[in-house]
């Protein structure tokens, strides 16, 4: 129980740090198009980190390690992040609605995944897409 509390506390601090970093970019966009691309890239970077966390958690193939995540679920999550990235790359041409829809399609698949590292990365992506 004590370990679980520490794990949740660490995950919460990391997620908060991530949101702080995501909201405090020091780059100056030259145009509104550059600003949109920078914003979309911030999300893509976080989506990549979320994906890497899922892949790490699953472990080497051909199947995810026992007691981690179901292989088919991991495939659905990783596969579902591809259209999200492809929507974000289209910034600023109608990207926000498409990205939100792609995220809405894949987010429910995380419902049964309780790994704190994944939940922390998920919270950051969710907040960024919610703020688009």
């Amino acid at each position: 129980m004590r370990t679980l509390k520490w794990t949740i506390a660490i995950a919460a601090v990391l997620a908060a740090t991530g949101l702080f970093n995501a909201c405090h970019k020091n780059l100056t966009p030259a145009t509104p198009g550059a600003a949109a691309a920078i914003k979309a890239d911030d999300v893509v970077v976080r989506v990549n980190e979320l994906q890497a966390t899922v892949i790490d958690y699953c472990g080497p193939g051909p199947a995810c390690a026992p007691g981690t995540i179901d292989t088919n679920l991991a495939r659905q999550i990783v596969g579902g992040l591809i259209p999200l990235r492809n929507a974000l790359v289209k910034a600023p041409d109608g990207w926000k609605a498409t990205a939100r829809q792609a995220w809405a399609d894949v987010k429910p698949k995380f419902a049964g995944v309780k790994n704190p590292a994944i939940q922390s990365a998920l919270a950051i992506v969710d907040a960024l897409i919610g703020g688009l």
């Binding site: 780059l27 030259a30 920078i38 892949i55 080497p60 199947a63 088919n72 991991a74 992040l81 591809i82």
Partner: protein, 62 residues
């Protein structure tokens, strides 16, 4: 805390946050053109999609 979980937190969250923070310090105030921003966006998306494709290939549907 399990070593695997600690490793996942450090490698996938803590280290990227630290790296990003240092990069932000270095890039403070730099003006980014639309071409630069789009190129980085495309490169990051391509890298993510390549990692996804590799994972899907190495983890066939059960």
């Amino acid at each position: 805390m399990s070593p695997l979980l600690l490793s996942a937190l450090l490698n996938n969250i803590a280290l990227p946050e630290l790296t990003r923070w240092l990069a932000d310090l270095h890039a403070n105030g730099r003006v980014v053109t639309e071409d630069e921003a789009r190129a980085k966006l495309q490169a990051d998306a391509d890298a993510g999609n390549a990692a996804a494709a590799a994972f899907l290939a190495s983890h066939p549907a059960a």
